[in-house]
């Protein structure tokens, strides 16, 4: 075999090796976020949690400026107008009544009594009613003798944004730099997020 022929054989073998290496690396090697986005699953979780929480809030709380609500269940046999002692201590004038159907709230015209700040309204049917007010509840119950006794009554405070403090406990342990703040926007929270993991970065707001 001549030197020229030998050169072509060696060159061909090197080309073959190069192609093989290129092919195998393309097939098997981890190209970071393109093939195994291990870190972005944490961001997916964060993003999903924010959206789920805001969707839930829109059906659970009509406006985040109203701080307290009393949920009552009115059974068959009631007589309109119904009068409910919602345990309102302050913020009497802000009381608003909503009928709950699944996850949707429908406002109903209502009034409050001069004595005891009980809420009165014409209930279209039996079911669940949410009475929101922008004030506090301190366990007060001022009966004027006309209120009905609902089948159930629970009092809840407006949910906090919750997401920032929750993820601040989780993400730093995974080597993810995370800062977060939330601002009320109607019945939802707008989250300003800084999320920086070794292979994924996000700065912006999510609502």
């Amino acid at each position: 075999m001549t030197a020229k022929g030998q050169f072509y054989i060696i060159a061909s073998v090197f080309v073959l090796i190069s192609l093989t290496v290129l092919f195998v690396f393309t097939l098997f090697v981890d190209f970071g976020t393109f093939t195994l986005p291990t870190q972005s699953t944490d961001f997916d979780n964060l993003q999903t949690a924010i959206m789920q929480r805001n969707n839930w809030l829109s059906g659970y709380w009509f406006d985040l400026d109203w701080k307290t609500k009393t949920t009552v269940e009115i059974s068959l046999g009631y007589a309109n107008p119904v009068e409910i002692d919602a345990d309102i201590t302050t913020g009497c004038d802000s009381a608003r009544v909503f009928q709950r159907t699944g996850n949707s709230l429908t406002e109903i015209a209502s009034d409050v009594t001069a004595i005891g700040c009980n809420v009165t309204f014409n209930a279209p049917s039996e079911g669940i009613y949410d009475i929101f007010w922008n004030g506090t509840n301190m366990g007060k119950s001022n009966s004027d003798g006309n209120e009905i006794t609902p089948a159930s009554k629970t009092i809840a405070q407006v949910p906090q944004e919750g997401i920032c403090s929750h993820f601040a406990q989780i993400l730093p342990k995974k080597n993810i730099a995370f800062t977060c703040s939330a601002a009320e926007v109607g019945d939802a929270y707008n989250y300003s997020i800084s999320f920086r993991s070794p292979d994924f970065t996000y700065y912006g707001s999510i609502i």
Partner: protein
């Protein structure tokens, strides 16, 4: 065999050795990729399972909005595990930012203090339709892993 022919065979032999060394290193890379891929698949399986349960309102039905400790942990466990393939083993934990709860709902010292093999994948899903969100941690492992 002349002198030129000898060098040719030596060069060819060296090339074969180099090629063999390179090729012998490929399977390790391939196994690693497949292992990671399988782990990621399990993570995605856990995440999408929990997300589906959330979207379907299942998690909502068995959790107490104002006090997660009073949730129905037995039902939660059944509903979380039942959509998973029978070849996948799952352990559940709940983390509310401060406390960790086991599958049965009892408070445990720390999350993740369970026997885990190297092929155990951890899927996390944060359930936020509560006064205080909770993160459901699913430790998943294939039986034949």
């Amino acid at each position: 065999m002349n002198k030129k022919g000898l060098f040719f065979w030596i060069e060819l032999l060296l090339l074969i050795v180099v090629l063999a060394l390179v090729i012998l290193n490929f399977p390790r890379s391939g196994d690693s990729f497949l292992a990671n891929k399988d782990s990621l698949d399990l993570q995605n399986l856990g995440f999408t399972t929990l997300q589906s349960l959330d979207n379907a309102g299942i998690l909502e039905n068995f959790t107490n909005i104002n006090n997660f400790a009073q949730s129905n942990f037995t039902k939660l466990s059944v509903y979380i595990k039942s959509p998973l393939p029978s070849t996948v083993l799952a352990n559940i934990e709940y983390f509310n930012g401060t406390d960790c709860r086991s599958e049965s709902g009892s408070v445990i010292a720390i999350c993740g203090n369970i026997t885990r093999t190297k092929d155990t994948a951890t899927a996390e899903y944060t359930y936020a339709k509560l006064a205080n969100p909770i993160t459901i941690k699913l430790y998943l492992r294939r039986i034949l892993g």
